[in-house]
């Protein structure tokens, strides 16, 4: 089906960015544009969901390119739609949160902040809706460049160093990605995402395919797989809403999304199996899951702990894709929105604590649960979900991942099943101390804790909503058509469920 809706959705943030700059003198109007654009984009993205969930794809060819058989344009399929819904729905909430957060902390350069934010989201949704690798690459680079001003928002020497590290990882990754894309085009004559993989790629020499796979893997360094993860904890120097939306959803999920695209839609499951690449990918993912959890345990800074938790959770998605079974793939696809909602709640809570108390270290948060009950309740819900305990949505995706690992069968399957279970256990190990400290530990005497209240309403409401959604997704996974879309994506990939 041909439609302009994907283009309109992409244009929303771009138009908002263009309007934000001239209205920099009037903060209310400026933030109004952001809110309006985020709502409009979410509705446009959501309007495509019912059609896509029925198995149709929405195509929007912008123009034919000079290269034969490459066009620049969008093709919305079920998997892309899941990511697009996740990113755009969360942008609405985070926009509201941003206003409360930035104003409460009286941050400088707010115009630049909202301007860059728009482009970052445009990049994320663009990646989700892209029809082929070339279009995807364009949006990928837009994400990298536009998030830089957000990462170095503080403009301290430390922040600048973090920003440089960020670019030092992600720009070479972009170069690898471009190399992979051009090689794919050269080998197969197309870069379109094809469910089940690009057919003509299969005739390429094996060695080149293996090199191509690793090139892509390096290209998607945004997925923060180990040992190429250290840009992510460093980037946590950014303001909390940025860490929340970009470094829990938009940027890193774009990387994971890319890996799933490569596994399922470019190289294809058959080739992954044939060349034994799935095992390498699963091995990398398992390593990351376990090691990142251990790193998380040792962090005292709350946001850094959450960052390592993100690294670990992203690898669940990579593992799900690597195992190549229907259930694991389904789990991976569901984990994108579910983890997004849960992790964003955690980051928003970390930001709320910073706004209300100015604290960033877990050890200083003794007794904070009594002062900020709503925030810490939301935090607890999300943390429970992270560990995969019902009744939070994390349980569903992890269940499917376990089923998928079981379905692999061979000893490998059992090993990966064990990895998932151990990693979930480790999640409990690093999240529960926070909850315990917040609710049950007595605060120290002299710190004047009585004055602490909940953060402003604009900060608390969004995080409450995301926490509630984490519960809603468990009860009714088809909210925003998520589970229909995931099932449809699986049937596209594997041909009928």
């Amino acid at each position: 089906m041909e439609s302009m809706t994907p283009l309109l959705a992409i244009l929303c943030p771009a138009i908002a960015a263009a309007l934000i700059l001239p209205s920099r003198k009037h903060p209310n109007i400026r933030e109004g544009w952001t809110i309006a654009a985020s709502v409009a984009m979410f509705l446009l993205v959501l309007s495509m969901a019912p059609v896509v969930a029925k198995g149709e794809t929405i195509k929007c060819i912008l123009f034919q390119s000079m290269f034969k058989d490459i066009y620049i344009g969008f093709k919305v399929d079920a998997f892309g739609e899941i990511f697009a819904i996740t990113a755009s729905s969360l942008w609405v909430l985070v926009s509201i949160y941003s206003i409360g957060y930035m104003r409460a902390l009286n941050e400088h350069a707010q115009t630049r902040y909202f301007f860059a934010f728009c482009f970052a989201i445009m990049g994320a949704v663009g990646v989700a809706l892209s029809a082929n690798l070339v279009t995807m690459f364009i949006f990928f680079e837009i994400i990298t460049i536009s998030t830089y001003p957000l990462v170095i928002h503080e403009q301290t020497p430390e922040a600048l160093r973090a920003g440089h590290k960020y670019l030092a990882y992600l720009m070479p990754a972009g170069a690898f990605l471009l190399f992979g894309i051009m090689t794919t085009y050269y080998l197969s004559g197309t870069t379109d995402f094809t469910p089940g993989g690009i057919k003509s790629l299969a005739s390429a020499p094996q060695l080149i395919l293996i090199v191509l796979f690793f090139t892509f893997l390096l290209g998607f360094m945004k997925a923060a797989w180990m040992p190429f993860h250290s840009w992510l904890p460093t980037a946590m120097i950014a303001p909390s809403p940025v860490s929340a939306l970009l470094h829990a959803v938009a940027v890193v999920k774009a990387g994971v999304f890319g890996i799933v695209r490569i596994v399922g839609y470019v190289i294809g499951m058959d080739l992954m199996q044939q060349l034994g690449l799935w095992l390498i990918l699963a091995g990398i993912a398992s390593f990351t899951m376990i090691v990142a959890s251990f790193f998380a345990i040792s962090q005292d800074n709350l946001k850094r702990r959450l960052a390592y938790s993100t690294i670990s959770q992203l690898s669940y998605i990579i593992l799900g894709a690597a195992l190549l079974t229907k259930d694991s793939m389904l789990g991976a696809m569901l984990h994108i929105p579910f983890h997004g909602y849960m992790k964003i709640t955690l980051f928003l809570c970390a930001g709320a604590i910073l706004v209300a108390t100015g604290k960033t270290r877990i050890s200083e948060m003794a007794g904070i649960g009594k002062r900020m009950p709503v925030t810490m309740l939301a935090f607890s819900i999300a943390a429970i979900g992270m560990a995969g305990i019902p009744p939070v949505c994390g349980f569903i995706s992890k269940l499917y991942l376990c089923l998928g690992a079981w379905a692999v069968g061979s000893p490998y399957g059992m090993i990966f099943l064990a990895v998932i279970l151990i990693s979930s256990l480790l999640d409990i190990v690093y999240f529960f101390p926070i909850i315990l400290t917040a609710f049950f530990k007595k605060p120290t005497e002299e710190s004047g804790e009585e004055k602490i209240k909940e953060a402003p309403l604009l900060v608390v409401v969004p995080l409450t909503i995301t926490a509630i959604f984490s519960l809603v997704f468990f009860i009714y996974p088809n909210t925003f058509y998520i589970s229909d879309l995931a099932r449809m994506a699986i049937s596209n990939l594997f041909g009928g469920v």
Partner: protein, 506 residues
């Protein structure tokens, strides 16, 4: 004969005539030369578009001067390649002129303004002449006109610009000598100077040592003029100390036209068969280009003066174009990369030099480390700089991305994988030195002390005549980036490919 076929000679003829008229008009009124030049070049732009249209719809224009038939008379040949280059050169000259309006007042004494504009017009005439001539010796004449005026235009700034100008005179003359020696040698063998005629005669004498020597000498001569590494030594000082208008014009079009001579030689005089006749010659060119790309970038990283950094960046970017040329015998995409990058580098580097000049004029800063807070003080110039820098790095959807894409595809198509890596690495090196400036402009907090070397124009905002060309070029960086990705330029590219007898279309 179609009316349009007279246009090429009209452009060079009127340019020369105008240059001397401007000198006289300058005595009447100092402002007159600028307006005359602007009006005339705008007129040229319009008729060059007619020429381009004619070339694309009807076919190449062949104009015999004085009605003398080649090979005895001088022939002007305009095919898709020159017509395209002509439009670029004229547009950049116009933008440079507009920019000079606000800039010259600050950098050059007022009594020199008349001669300045006369020389600019004369240089433009030389560049137009090189672009449309079809005769090897006539090309030398125009080459000398374009070079001699350039020497003078650099020296016009006085002071520190004199020594680089002198270096350039020496090096440029050596280059010109190499070129004319080459022409003499090849004339002694073939007895003709007409390019088309020579192309027919040459295949019989490929193995003649004099012909091979002539090729080598002409190539080296042009390489000096187009500052291909390691023959670039005259260039960084020149670009650093020349007036900003001239740096911008030289980096954007002067060097492109010099390089165009090489393109003509390789494709229209010696042809690709000659290159293929000597096994490894194309790879030699490619590796020279690869070294230029990396060396230029590495030297650029070491620089602290913005204009000097941009100068080294130009050395690196000329390497891109040379790489495309070296790959063209193996893949048509190489030539596409050349064609695209000639335009993309012209608009990008032109914009960068213009904003560098604006920074120096408005805030008196040339050293990158003193750029703090420019983003607030000069938002338009900074934005233009940033967009053009992103284009140089090759971030989509800017123009630089398209040329990088073409060149990568050319390397893959030619199965020369090392160049893919070099191109990608060079993009990262560009990131290093350009991002340092962007960081300094926007993100590094200033320590609050006022810059002592503040320019006299303090408090005044940048004149529109300087802001407008920068912003136009910055916008073009994005617009062209998108256009190169579409199939809109495909007819042009295919015309160029067939006119240069690549024998393939894409």
């Amino acid at each position: 004969m179609n009316f349009v076929e007279h246009f090429p000679v009209l452009i060079v003829g009127l340019s020369m005539f105008l240059a001397y008229t401007m000198l006289l008009a300058g005595y009447l009124n100092r402002r007159l030369p600028f307006y005359m030049s602007l009006a005339m070049n705008s007129f040229f732009l319009i008729i060059s578009l007619f020429i381009l249209n004619h070339v694309l719809t009807v076919g190449p224009i062949r104009y015999w001067q004085g009605g003398w038939r080649p090979p005895w008379g001088i022939e002007y040949v305009v095919d898709a390649m020159n017509a395209y280059l002509l439009v670029i050169v004229i547009s950049m000259v116009i933008l440079g002129l507009i920019y000079s309006r606000g800039n010259v007042r600050y950098e050059i004494e007022e009594r020199k303004h008349t001669t300045f504009y006369t020389l600019v017009q004369l240089m433009a005439a030389g560049l137009y002449g090189i672009t449309i001539t079809g005769d090897l010796f006539n090309m030398f004449i125009w080459l000398e006109i374009a070079s001699l005026t350039a020497y003078a235009l650099i020296a016009v700034a006085g002071g520190r610009a004199l020594r680089p100008a002198y270096n350039y005179v020496i090096m440029g003359s050596i280059g010109a000598c190499f070129y004319i020696f080459g022409v003499c040698w090849i004339y002694s063998v073939t007895g003709t100077l007409n390019m088309a005629d020579m192309r027919l005669l040459l295949p019989l004498v490929y193995d003649n040592k004099a012909v091979q020597m002539a090729f080598a000498m002409m190539v080296v001569g042009v390489m000096i003029k187009a500052y291909i590494f390691p023959l670039h030594l005259w260039q960084p000082d020149v670009y650093t100390y020349a007036p900003s208008t001239i740096s911008s014009m030289m980096a954007s079009v002067h060097v492109k036209v010099m390089f165009y001579i090489l393109i003509r030689m390789v494709f229209s005089v010696f042809t690709l068969d000659f290159i293929k006749h000597f096994i490894g010659l194309d790879m030699l060119i490619c590796w020279v280009a690869a070294i230029a790309i990396l060396a230029g970038s590495i030297w650029a990283i070491k620089q602290r003066n913005l204009k000097r950094m941009l100068a080294y960046s130009s050395v690196s970017q000329m390497g891109y174009i040379l790489l495309g040329l070296g790959l063209s015998p193996l893949s048509p995409w190489g030539l596409v990369g050349v064609v695209a990058h000639i335009l993309n580098h012209a608009i990008g580097k032109g914009c960068l030099f213009m904003s560098a000049g604006a920074f120096a004029q408005q805030e008196g800063v040339r050293d990158i480390r003193k750029f703090e807070g420019l983003g607030k003080k000069m938002p338009y110039a900074s934005a233009a700089f940033t967009i053009a820098a992103l284009s140089m790095i090759g971030i989509p959807p800017t123009a630089g991305f398209a040329s990088k894409l073409f060149l990568i595809l050319a390397s893959l198509d030619a199965s020369q994988y090392p160049f893919v890596a070099i191109l990608l690495l060079s993009g990262l090196l560009n990131l290093v030195y350009f991002w340092r400036v962007i960081d300094q402009i926007y993100f590094v907090k200033s320590d609050g002390t006022e810059n002592p070397a503040k320019a006299k124009e303090k408090g005044k905002s940048l004149p529109l005549s300087m802001t407008a060309p920068m912003l136009i070029l910055a916008a073009l960086c994005i617009i062209m980036g998108i256009i190169w990705l579409t199939d809109v330029p495909l007819p042009l590219i295919n015309h160029i490919l067939s006119n240069l007898r690549m024998g393939v279309t894409i």
